[in-house]
C-alpha cells in the first residue's frame, strides 16, 4: 500500500475517523493493528520477521535493564549480533556471495560458490525497523532511556508505526515511546501543519521529483554519449530529484503521523543551505546520519582512543568507516560503498581543514562572514552534488570506464548538445518553486513560513500547487519512492 494510492486514502480516512473517537489504549491497539495491516498488504509473511525482531528488541531491552552490570554487555552484544544477522542475511548475503565468488572463481580461480546464491526477497522497511530496534537496546544500555517500555504493544507500535515503516524517519524510542504512553489531544493548529506538510511533500514528489526523473533517465542511460553540460544538469537534477523524492516522502510521513497526534523527528532541514560537509549531515537524512553518529561513530571514536589512536588519523578512520556503513545501509552495492567512501573522505578533509584554519587563520576571518558563509554553501552543495553524480554514474553504467568517462566529460568535454537547452528549461521549471520556498524557509528560519503568509497569497500559492500536482500526476500514479527500496 502506497501513501499515494486510493487504498491508502480509504485506509487512512477510516482509521483517522475511528482513531480520534477512542481512548489512548484503544488508539494504540488500533494503530498497531493498522500498521500490521498496512505492512501485510505488501507481504503478510514478513510480518513474522518483524514480530521476531520486535520480540528480540523488547526482551533484550528488559534483559539489559534488569541484568547486573557484567551481563549487560553480553546481552547487548547478543542483541546486536541477532539484528545484524537478520539484516545481513536479507540484505547483504547475496552481495557477499556474488563478490566472494567473483574473487575466488574469476580472479583466484580456486573454486565456485555461486550455488550458495539464494533467491531472497528483501523485506520492505527492514533497514529502518532493525535500526529502530537496535537503537532502543543501545539507548537502554546507555541509560538514554531510563527504563524499557512496560507494554509490549507500545513497543510493537514503535517498531511497526505505519507512517514510518517504509522509508523512515528512523525514529528514536526516547521520542516516540513517551508519546505512545501519553494521552493524545487533537490540536487543530498541529493538524493544519501536518496537513500542510503532507501537501507540500506530495508536491515535491509529484511535480519536482517525478518531473526531474525524465531528465535524469534521459541523461544517465546505458547507451549514448553525454556532454559535460548535460552531465552537470543531470547531476543537479539527480540531486534535487533524490531530495524532493525522499524529503517529500518524509514530509508526508511526518504529516500523517501528525494527523494522528505524533510529533516525529525532522529528517531534512534545508540541506542545500549547509555551510560545510558536517553541516549537511546535520540537515540531510537526519535520522540516519544521527543514528550513525550516535551508535557507530561515537563507539568507533571511543574505541580508537582506547587503542591509543590519538590524532587526526584515528578520527578520520572512524569517520570513513561510519560513512561507508551509512552508504551500504542504503543498499548492498559498490556504488553506495563508493558513495560512502567519498563522503567519508570529504568529511575527513573538512575536519582537517577545520583544524588547520583554527590554528592558522586570523581572527577576523574566523568571525562570521556572510560571503564566506555563501562560499561555504556553494562548495558544500557542489561537493554533495558530485557525490550524487558518483553514485548515479557508478550505479547506471556496467563498466567502470563508462562511469569514469561521464565524470571526465564534466571537466574536459563541457559542450552543449541539441537537448541541453531543453534539459535546462525542464530543470528550472520543476525546481524553481522548491528553491524559492526553501529560500524563504531558510531566511526566516521557519519550516512553516508559508502558513504565516497573507490569506490570499497563501491561497494563490495553494491553487498553483494543486494545478501542478493534478497536471503532473503520473499515468499510473506517481513513480515509486526511491528510498522505499532501501
Amino acid at each position: 500500500m502506497d501513501f499515494l494510492s486510493y487504498d491508502f486514502l480509504f485506509f487512512f480516512l477510516l482509521l483517522f475517523i475511528i482513531y480520534w473517537r477512542l481512548d489512548r489504549k484503544k488508539q494504540n491497539l488500533l494503530l498497531l493493528l493498522g500498521s500490521y495491516f498496512f505492512y501485510a498488504c505488501w507481504d503478510w509473511r514478513f510480518l513474522f520477521l518483524m514480530l521476531f525482531v520486535t520480540g528480540i528488541g523488547y526482551i533484550c531491552a528488559i534483559g539489559i535493564y534488569r541484568a547486573e552490570q557484567k551481563h549487560k554487555n553480553s546481552i547487548l552484544w547478543s542483541s546486536i549480533a541477532i539484528h545484524a544477522v537478520v539484516l545481513f542475511f536479507f540484505k547483504y548475503y547475496n552481495f557477499f556471495i556474488d563478490n566472494f565468488n567473483r574473487l575466488i572463481s574469476d580472479i583466484m580461480r580456486v573454486g565456485d560458490i555461486s550455488s550458495f546464491w539464494l533467491d531472497i526477497i528483501l523485506p520492505l522497511g527492514i533497514s529502518y525497523y532493525i535500526f529502530k530496534s537496535l537503537s532502543y537496546n543501545i539507548d537502554i544500555y546507555r541509560k538514554v532511556i531510563k527504563q524499557p517500555a512496560t507494554s509490549f504493544l507500545d513497543y510493537a507500535l514503535y517498531i511497526s508505526f505505519f507512517p514510518q515503516i517504509l522509508s523512515g524517519p528512523i525514529e528514536r524510542a526516547a521520542n516516540f515511546l513517551p508519546q505512545v504512553a501519553a494521552p493524545r489531544e487533537f490540536n487543530v493548529k498541529f493538524f493544519s501543519e501536518s496537513c500542510y506538510l503532507f501537501f507540500w511533500g506530495l508536491f515535491k514528489k509529484v511535480f519536482v521529483a517525478d518531473g526531474l526523473a525524465q531528465i535524469v533517465n534521459n541523461i544517465f542511460k546505458e547507451q549514448g554519449v553525454v556532454s559535460g553540460f548535460d552531465v552537470l544538469i543531470g547531476a543537479y537534477a539527480g540531486t534535487f530529484r533524490l531530495y524532493a523524492d525522499f524529503s517529500g516522502y518524509t514530509d508526508m510521513a511526518i504529516g500523517i503521523a501528525g494527523c494522528l497526534g505524533f510529533r516525529t523527528m525532522l529528517n531534512f532541514n534545508l540541506p542545500f543551505f549547509a555551510k560545510n560537509p558536517f553541516d549537511i549531515w546535520r540537515r540531510w537524512h537526519i535520522s540516519l546520519s544521527s543514528w550513525c553518529r550516535d551508535y557507530i561513530f561515537y563507539y568507533l571514536n571511543r574505541a580508537r582512543l582506547r587503542l591509543g589512536l590519538i590524532g587526526i588519523g584515528g578520527t578520520s578512520l572512524a569517520i570513513i568507516i561510519t560513512m561507508i556503513t551509512m552508504g551500504v545501509w542504503h543498499e548492498a552495492s559498490w556504488a553506495f560503498l563508493i558513495w560512502g567512501l567519498y563522503h567519508g573522505i570529504l568529511l575527513t578533509v573538512a575536519n582537517a581543514l577545520g583544524k588547520l584554519s583554527g590554528n592558522f587563520l586570523p581572527d577576523r576571518l574566523k568571525k562570521k562572514n556572510k560571503w564566506l558563509g555563501a562560499l561555504g554553501m556553494f562548495i558544500t552543495f557542489h561537493s554533495f552534488v558530485f557525490g550524487e553524480l558518483l553514485y548515479m554514474s557508478t550505479s547506471t553504467y556496467k563498466s567502470v570506464g563508462q562511469a569514469v568517462n561521464v565524470i571526465r566529460n564534466l571537466f574536459f568535454n563541457f559542450t552543449l548538445t541539441s537537448g541541453s537547452a531543453t534539459f535546462l528549461v525542464i530543470f528550472i521549471f520543476h525546481t524553481w518553486i522548491l528553491i524559492v520556498i526553501e529560500f524563504f524557509q531558510f531566511i526566516k528560519n521557519d519550516h512553516f513560513v508559508v502558513l504565516k503568509w497573507n490569506f490570499w497569497i497563501k491561497t494563490v500559492f495553494y491553487v498553483l500547487l494543486i494545478w501542478l500536482i493534478v497536471l503532473y500526476w503520473g499515468f499510473s500514479g506517481p513513480g515509486a519512492f526511491i528510498y522505499g527500496e532501501f
Binding site: F186, T459, F461, V470, G477
Partner: protein, 360 residues
C-alpha cells in the same frame, strides 16, 4: 479532542484553494477559446481523447430539421472518412457528418461512449468497430492499457454501467484487483485537467516553444499522412512470427466484446437511433499475419446480429475494392486516395436511398 480553535487555525486558505481550483477547471472546460486553441496544438494520436472530447464539445445543438450522422469506431474511422467532403455534398439536404474515434475501437471502448453519443442526438450511427478489437484477450483487457499508456482510455471515459458486464465475464476478483482504474475513472470525470493531463502539459510545452521560436506547429488532421515503407509488410510479418504474438493465435471472438456490441446497438436503438454497421476495409496482407483469417468469424457474427437485431450491415463485399498498394497506409488504415473512395461510397450509399436512410 480538546482543542477546537477552528476559526483561527483551520486551513481555510487550503479550502479556498480547492474551491478556486474546481472553479477554474470548470470554467476552462466550458471556454470555447480554450478548446479551439488547444485543439489546434493537439496531435492526432497522442491527443486523440482530447480531440474526441473537443469534437463532442463543438457539436452544435441539433435543430429539429437537421439530420445528424455520427460515424463511430476506432482509428480506421478517423482515417477512413472525409467529413468535409460529406458535409459539402449533403449541405443542401441538411445532413451533418461527424467522426468519433476511440483508441482500439473495440466494443468495450465504444460501450463506454454510449451516453456521450446519445446526448448528441444523432439520427444515424454508423458503427465501424475495429475487427481486431473483437479478439482482445479478456484477461489482458486492463494490462493492454498498461502497455500503451498514451492510448489507454479506461480512466478517461469511464462509465459505471460497464461494471456488471466486467464482473460477469472477468469475475469480481479481477475487477477488484483493478479497482484503481475505476476509481481513477470516477476522479477523472470530476477533475477535467487530470483527465487530459498529458495532452495539456504537452500542448503547454508546445505553446511555450512556439512563443520562444515564433514557429507555430502545423495542424495535423489525420493520424497518418505518409504511407508505410515498401518492406513494411515483410518486416511486420517477420516480427510477428518471431515474437509469437498472442493475437496470432486468436481463434474466437471475445464473449465480452460480443455481448457489449449487442448491448450498444440495443441502447442506440432504444434511443431511436438507427444503427448501420460497416465493415472495416482490410488490406489482404493481414491474412499473412493471422492464420485464422480475422474477418471470417467477425463477418459471421455481424451477419447473425443483423438478422437478430434490426440493423443494417454493410459487409466487405459491398465496399468498393481498395487497392492494397495504393489505397492503404498499412493493414487497415486508408490513405487520402482510399479515404476519398470510402467517403464517395458512403455518399452514394446514402444518395441511393436517401428517403429510407434516416427511417427507423
Amino acid at each position: 479532542m480538546a482543542n477546537f480553535n477552528y476559526k483561527k487555525h483551520f486551513p481555510w486558505s487550503f479550502v479556498a484553494a480547492i474551491m478556486i481550483f474546481f472553479l477554474t477547471q470548470g470554467t476552462l472546460a466550458k471556454l470555447p477559446a480554450f478548446w479551439q486553441t488547444f485543439y489546434k496544438y493537439s496531435e492526432p494520436i497522442m491527443g486523440r481523447m482530447f480531440r474526441l472530447e473537443a469534437k463532442l464539445y463543438f457539436m452544435p445543438d441539433k435543430k429539429s430539421a437537421d439530420k445528424r450522422v455520427i460515424i463511430l469506431g476506432g482509428s480506421t474511422v478517423a482515417q477512413g472518412y472525409d467529413t468535409k467532403y460529406l458535409n459539402t455534398e449533403f449541405l443542401a439536404k441538411g445532413v451533418r457528418f461527424y467522426t468519433i474515434d476511440i483508441p482500439f475501437g473495440n466494443p468495450v471502448q465504444l460501450f463506454l461512449l454510449k451516453d456521450r453519443i446519445v446526448k448528441e442526438k444523432p439520427d444515424v450511427v454508423i458503427l465501424m468497430p475495429d475487427v481486431g478489437g473483437f479478439y482482445i484477450s479478456e484477461h489482458g483487457l486492463f494490462s493492454l492499457g498498461r502497455f500503451f499508456p498514451y492510448t489507454v482510455t479506461w480512466d478517461l471515459i469511464f462509465d459505471p454501467d460497464i461494471v456488471p458486464y466486467l464482473i460477469k465475464h472477468l469475475g469480481v476478483k479481477e475487477v477488484f484487483r483493478e479497482r484503481a482504474v475505476f476509481l481513477d475513472g470516477i476522479v477523472n470525470k470530476v477533475v477535467f485537467p487530470r483527465r487530459h493531463r498529458f495532452v495539456l502539459t504537452g500542448i503547454l510545452e508546445k505553446m511555450v516553444n512556439a512563443a520562444l521560436t515564433g514557429k507555430k506547429p502545423d495542424f495535423q488532421e489525420y493520424y497518418f499522412t505518409t504511407g508505410c515503407s515498401p518492406d513494411f509488410y515483410e518486416k511486420t510479418e517477420k516480427r510477428f512470427r518471431s515474437e509469437n504474438k498472442r493475437s496470432f493465435e486468436q481463434s474466437k471472438l471475445t464473449p465480452l466484446c460480443k455481448e457489449l456490441f449487442v448491448e450498444l446497438v440495443l441502447y442506440f436503438q432504444r434511443n431511436n437511433i438507427k444503427v448501420i454497421v460497416v465493415d472495416s476495409p482490410m488490406n489482404q496482407e493481414i491474412n499473412s499475419l493471422y492464420d485464422n483469417k480475422l474477418n471470417t468469424l467477425y463477418n459471421d457474427f455481424l451477419l447473425e446480429q443483423a438478422n437478430q437485431l434490426d440493423l443494417v450491415y454493410v459487409s466487405l463485399d459491398e465496399l468498393p475494392s481498395f487497392d492494397k498498394d495504393n489505397d492503404y497506409i498499412d493493414y487497415d488504415h486508408l490513405n487520402a486516395q482510399g479515404r476519398e473512395k470510402m467517403s464517395k461510397f458512403l455518399q452514394q450509399y446514402i444518395e441511393s436511398d436517401f428517403e429510407n436512410f434516416f427511417k427507423y
